[in-house]
């Protein structure tokens, strides 16, 4: 099928518009999570996979390092939020 144009979009009825808005909101949230996963993998791979690459699997140490790296990043971003909130309240 050819790509949609503006004229086609005008054919959407109210019910489908509401549905689409919901769908797009969900997708953009998913895209934000995915962007974080990409940037975290980038950062954590550098920290966790430091030895010579001998096989395609993550070994146990690398695997737990990737998980810890992700968790600690999460801690840090919560801390940032908390600090900023404190600053606003003082």
């Amino acid at each position: 099928m050819d790509s949609l144009n503006d004229h086609d979009l005008e054919k959407l009825n109210e019910k489908d518009k509401v549905e689409l808005r919901q769908f797009l909101a969900n997708e953009s949230q998913k895209a934000r999570v995915q962007a974080t996963v990409h940037s975290l993998t980038d950062t954590c791979f550098k920290k966790c996979v430091t030895g010579t690459i001998r096989n395609g699997k993550l070994d146990k140490t690398e695997e737990s390092c990737m998980a810890n790296c992700t968790e600690r990043f999460f801690d840090i971003s919560s801390l940032t939020m908390k600090h900023l909130q404190n600053l606003r309240n003082t």
């Binding site: 054919k11 974080t36 996963v37 990409h38 975290l40 966790c48 395609g56 993550l58 690398e62």
Partner: protein, 80 residues
Amino acid sequence: MDSETVKTEVIREVREQYAMDNARQLIEKINKHCFERCVPKPGASLSGGEQTCFTQCMEKYMSAWNQVSTTYINRLQRER
């Protein structure tokens, strides 16, 4: 085209775009990391060793991505 068809088509296009974008980001990172790792001194051609390293590095990076994705999403759900 009726409303239903337009809606379905929008959804299809958005999903396709999303998948393409995801693949593009992953490929970009794999190339960056694994090139740096496996081809420290680029020669006249890719050696067998460099190619093996690259394939393994690529698999490793994808496992690492999956690990981060699972951990991150679990944490998001726990914090909610």
